[in-house]
Symmetry: C2
Subunit: 279 residues, 2 copies
């Protein structure tokens, strides 16, 4: 299904988490008018799309510091869905409290465990603040809001301040000013829009000298630039590897689609994840 013209401005979209989650911001960047439903886990986002509760799903696929989100790649293996769009969002964390709360009086912060890792420097500066883990950052913000307490705060997105009526006690408490997360938009069907210029695939290789070389030679011979190559031990296996590739390529080029077909036949496991535009 190559060559669909414009990516839709509006659609029913499933996001992981609750209102105020980072995936909500991603959805609102990808679609002008998303109609968002929320699903508790990554798997539930795939399920919502599978059951037709939503046309698209929004998920994080890679963080510039923490690397690939293995769990999402693993779900592609089960569901065989496709990436139809992507967006790179800066990771920004805000310290949010109820009206009247001040940083000086905060004894405890609630947030997701990834945010703890991403705000190490801030948390080290305030060693007396106890850190409590929530299912996600938006849940943390909701909890603080409902508590009404002035001695506890949440680490969450700026959006959560508005959604949960909280005050910003400190903005941009994330460690690196260059930390980004890539979010993808998934679909049950393979939708390839006219502006698609990136291809994602995942595959395994035989464990012998040269097997990776041969795959990369395919790309080099076709003058395709690799923008990502990551090898990750397969979860549950003992250091067998899954390779994740991103290529600057268009499926509508015959040389590219031929290459994909050829690759498929030569490696033990191959999954085409989509041809899409990253905005």
């Amino acid at each position: 299904m190559v060559g669909i013209k414009g990516f839709p401005v509006s659609a029913k979209v499933a996001c992981q988490g609750i209102e105020g989650a980072f995936s909500q911001s991603a959805a609102e960047t990808l679609f002008a008018k998303p109609d968002i439903i929320y699903a508790p886990e990554f798997r539930d986002v795939f399920e919502a799309v599978d059951k037709g509760l939503a046309k698209y799903g929004i998920l994080p696929i890679e963080n510039s510091n923490a690397g690939s989100v293995t769990e999402v790649y693993d779900l592609f293996k089960s569901y065989k869905f496709f990436i139809v769009r992507a967006v790179k969002m800066p990771v920004e964390h805000f310290l949010l409290g109820t009206k009247g709360a001040t940083l000086e009086n905060i004894k405890e912060v609630h947030t997701h465990h990834m945010a703890v890792k991403q705000c190490t420097a801030f948390l080290k500066k305030y060693p007396h603040i106890k850190v409590v883990i929530s299912a996600n950052t938006a849940e943390a913000a909701k909890f603080i809001s409902q508590s009404g307490r002035k001695d506890i705060a949440a680490i969450a997105s700026q959006k959560c301040a508005k959604v949960y009526n909280l005050s910003v006690l400190k903005k941009n408490i994330e460690d690196s000013s260059n930390n980004c997360t890539r979010f993808i938009c998934i679909s049950k069907e393979c939708e390839v829009y006219n502006d698609a210029d990136k291809i994602s695939i995942m595959l395994t290789l035989e464990h012998r000298a040269g097997s990776l070389y041969e795959v990369i030679k395919f790309f080099a011979d076709n003058n395709l630039n690799l923008t990502k190559l990551e090898s990750r031990p397969i979860t549950g296996s003992n250091f067998e590897f899954m390779f994740y590739f991103d290529l600057e390529a268009k499926l509508k080029d015959k040389s590219v689609s031929d290459l994909i077909d050829k690759l498929k036949k030569t490696v033990p496991y191959f999954l085409f994840l989509g041809n899409y535009r990253e905005v």
Copy 2:
């Protein structure tokens, strides 16, 4: 300094954390009789070795689920130290409480944020248990021990039960039975023991089609097997990549040392991390 015979059985070793840390178990697997000093952060382990407070340092370099520990790779760039030994340790987490505590009465668990990620299934089964973050798992165990309370517990190593006089409330609460962490032993000097059969390097590549291919062709032409290839955006840069390679190779083979010299001259950035045995 190629061809040192036996890896020492005893040495002064710096580990990150405090007594009971996972790096202590790694040190005790690598050395029959390690004389361990503890350093608070990864950087402090490098510092301890740099200042001669310890001959060797023990650090995690890669987890089979979470991938490479970018922070440790980054420290190699500053310190130019070498890997002289490695060991793969299974990730095992235990729920530890004071004497008389039972799982049923636990209202709060303390642990490191990585352990939260690694015990997701267990924590989901007990949603009423509040999770509080500690600097590391051993600190969490120490805190529980000192508190004397029966309603709070730590997620930490089995070793911590003995070190901090705690009871095992539940063993092996980690998600995957195959989750491993590779620990490395670092040294200021490049020590290559006779049994060394693995080479680690890190490098950057020019951003053009074929640049990665050319590097991998080097390896394939020399019949060297790649056991790891990971690309990671460089921290603080905007999706520029650092590549981490592990090779099955011996520096004492002239073809290998020639290859290393050649590579060094062709890529923008190159760092040889060591030739060592993984036990």
